[in-house]
């Protein structure tokens, strides 16, 4: 981007503006969460709000889920490129859900309000949120975008302050939950308007010149911090490869995730040229650049550091079109989120060669969730439960064990359902929900443990999963062992447990049968033989590892006598 001569920023004004921007996006976020109709937005936080400068550069993002770190900036830039600044007017509201612009599925409607000051655009206030339904088929795996619902190109939802009523009607006519969609739409606009209000206040308070100088300073400062971190990394070319189980169409055909990271001076290049081509099933996305940026942000700035465009200036991403993370029309994108998590992990895997002290081993990388539903024997009403979200293990670090049973990378603060609530609402009995022994990869630092849950159906239920990374478990680093992968299974009334080789099942359970979900652990870090013996004993005592693992993998002698562990005692 061509830069004009920068004014020197007043440091106090810059700091005020920096914090005002963060506060503004936090307020946008609160407004959206408190006014949306759809639980996916207000509970699962499947949204992003953001403020962008007149070129579409990120000023501040109010993140819902971590993977949304970047996509909206590209959407704002696409809108600018489509209309040109001269054709965007005060009172316009710009909209799209085009999957190949947003990089995600059609459920993500992205509204932007241009903000004008003294007759010209100075910023954009934008909100992306996930609508519960956007039309399309409901019959399992989609194989093109047409099957996934209504595609909205770049359109003006409002023109010069006037609602495009025909556009509104067209959208609402094509969704199954018209009332909820309309509610979420208005919630998104409210969030955007909060951003507009705050930017206008900042401009009125500080004046445009001071404001612009502060923005430049904020981004330059963030860039400098990021460059300093990259400069500490040894120059070199680092490569890694991992695999997804399949694309839900060609079952058991692994999908390769290949990355090359080049560190040179204070810049980093993530080359995704050798990623798998886009696949037949609905796991495609346009999230390649976002993945590289998520990894880069984690490696260069503290996680709570506000996000702005300066952070990403030292990063270049090479991403040819037509890969599984840069899919082209009409590739299906409905389940866009699964592969990117493994891509971020694979970037860490590559960089483990250069900066082992800054990365983690692989994690379970899937929500491990089941769709369970049926008619309640109590009242005959249909009930629907997104069972699971049981969390899984995270990879170990160079100096720390991985975290146990925590929601996967993409889903940040997403909540799960308490067992008591599940049993109260649905004809289900949670037989157990506990840590999964030996699921964390062994290592000098052990990978976090996954969970295992067994839930008994008290009447007939449908049970459907789309879980990946069953056959390609989370890897260890620097001699650490791989973890156990995700698994799906069912237990018959006679107690027979069947664990399937695929994580994609669609079945009926009778009363008394149970569905079983196992989440993978995190990979281990370093040679298990170097693990502190007291830590091994503690793991054994807590039921994190079995006696066999303690003995064979960690080399602990006479484990039983040393651990003091009671037979069959399990961690809660």
């Amino acid at each position: 981007m061509k830069k004009t001569r920068k004014l020197k920023a007043d440091p106090i004004a810059a700091e005020l503006i920096r914090n005002s921007l963060v506060a503004a996006t936090e307020e946008m976020k609160s407004v959206l969460m408190r006014t949306s109709y759809n639980m996916i937005i207000y509970e699962a936080l499947d949204f992003t709000v953001g403020l962008f400068d007149r070129h579409g550069q990120t000023l501040s993002i109010g993140l819902g889920l971590p993977m949304f770190i970047r996509g909206m900036s590209d959407v704002v830039k696409a809108k600018l490129a489509h209309w040109g600044e001269e054709n965007i007017h005060p009172g316009d509201i710009l909209l799209t859900n085009d999957a190949y612009t947003t990089g995600a599925h059609l459920n993500h409607l992205t509204f932007s309000i241009p903000i004008f000051h003294k007759g010209r655009i100075v910023a954009f206030s934008t909100c992306m949120a996930h609508w519960q339904d956007i039309g399309g088929i409901l019959n399992g795996v989609t194989t093109d975008i047409y099957a996934e619902g209504l595609q909205i190109p770049l359109v003006k939802y409002h023109q010069r302050g006037v609602l495009n009523e025909e556009m509104r009607e067209l959208i609402l006519m094509n969704v199954r939950r018209r009332d909820r969609a309309a509610g979420d739409l208005e919630a998104q606009l409210s969030a955007c308007r909060v951003g507009v209000k705050h930017i206008e206040e900042m401009l009125n308070r500080h004046g445009e010149a001071t404001w612009q100088a502060a923005l430049d300073a904020i981004m330059d400062h963030t860039e400098a911090e990021a460059r300093a971190m990259v400069k500490r990394m040894p120059d070199g070319v680092y490569e890694a490869e991992s695999f997804m189980d399949d694309d839900a169409v060609d079952i058991d055909q692994p999908v390769p995730i290949r990355v090359k990271v080049i560190v040179k001076g204070d810049s980093m290049t993530v080359d995704l040229s050798r990623m798998s081509p886009q696949v037949k099933g609905f796991f495609n996305s346009g999230a390649g650049v976002a993945c590289a940026q998520v990894a880069f942000k984690c490696l260069t700035l503290p996680t709570d550091h506000p996000i702005n465009d300066g952070n990403f200036r030292p990063l270049k991403v090479i991403l040819p079109k037509g890969t599984v993370v840069s899919a082209l029309h009409p590739a299906p994108m409905r389940v866009w989120m699964t592969y990117p998590m493994t891509l971020v992990d694979t970037i860490f895997k590559a960089l483990a060669q250069a900066i082992p002290e800054s990365v983690i081993a692989g994690h379970h990388a899937d929500l491990v969730i089941a769709n369970v539903n049926g008619f309640h024997p109590r009242d005959g009403k249909l009930w629907i439960y997104l069972g699971g979200l049981i969390g899984g293990g995270w990879g170990a670090k160079h100096n720390e064990d991985g975290v146990n049973v925590t929601v996967c990378m993409n889903d940040g603060d997403t909540h799960n359902g308490p067992s008591e609530q599940v049993e109260n609402k649905f004809p289900l009995l949670v037989r157990y929900y506990r840590l999964r022994e030996d699921s964390g990869g062994a290592g000098q630092f052990r990978g976090g443990l996954g969970a295992e849950a067994e839930v008994v159906a008290l009447s007939k239920v449908n049970y459907q999963t789309r879980i990946d990374r069953v056959n390609h478990p989370p890897w260890g680093l620097q001699g650490g062992h791989s973890a156990m992968g995700n698994r799906v299974g069912m237990r018959k009334k006679d107690g027979t447990l069947t664990l399937y080789n695929s994580g994609k099942v669609n079945m009926r359970l009778d009363a008394g049968e149970a569905y079983v979900l196992h989440s993978g652990g995190g990979g281990g870090f370093g040679d298990p033989k170097k693990r502190d013996k007291d830590a091994v004993l503690r793991d054994l005592r807590l039921g994190y590892i079995s006696q066999e693992t303690a003995r064979k993998v960690y080399g602990l002698k006479s484990a039983t006598s040393q651990s003091g562990r009671q037979k069959n005692k399990r961690a809660p």
Binding site: H105, D133, R176, D179, L382, I384, S459, N462
Partner: protein, 118 residues
């Protein structure tokens, strides 16, 4: 008596319409948000599940149970719409009380699906 039979037939016809409307669309429950996969219930699954629910629910009404079992015996008739058509055409052998009980229960189930549809 005649009047109540006609009312029941009309009610069955209306229920059949509601059932066809909800059951043929399937249910969207998130369209694969970041926190989920493509959570849907397909139309065939709903039909099967509701039919089985009815079979289990009316064990205390032998004629109704028998009627359901007769329909369940063949794939072509093991469908909720076929049950309702039978009632709407007045060809079912069910006593009025059983017909009423069945439709009352079905009405609750269909309304709960409509609630999910919005």
């Amino acid at each position: 008596m005649k009047r109540s039979k006609l009312q029941a037939q009309t009610q069955a016809l209306m229920l059949c319409g509601r059932w066809l409307r909800v059951s043929r669309r399937g249910l969207a429950m998130g369209g694969s948000c970041g926190c989920s996969f493509d959570p849907v219930i397909e139309s065939g699954q709903l039909d099967d599940l509701l039919f089985e629910h009815c079979l289990e629910r009316f064990t205390n009404r032998p004629p109704l149970q028998q009627w359901l079992k007769t329909h369940a015996a063949k794939p072509a008739t093991r469908r909720i719409d076929r049950l309702l058509q039978d009632l709407a055409q007045g060809t079912s052998p069910l006593p009025v009380a059983d017909t009423q009980a069945f439709m009352q229960a079905l009405e609750v189930s269909i309304a709960s699906i409509e609630e999910h549809h919005g």
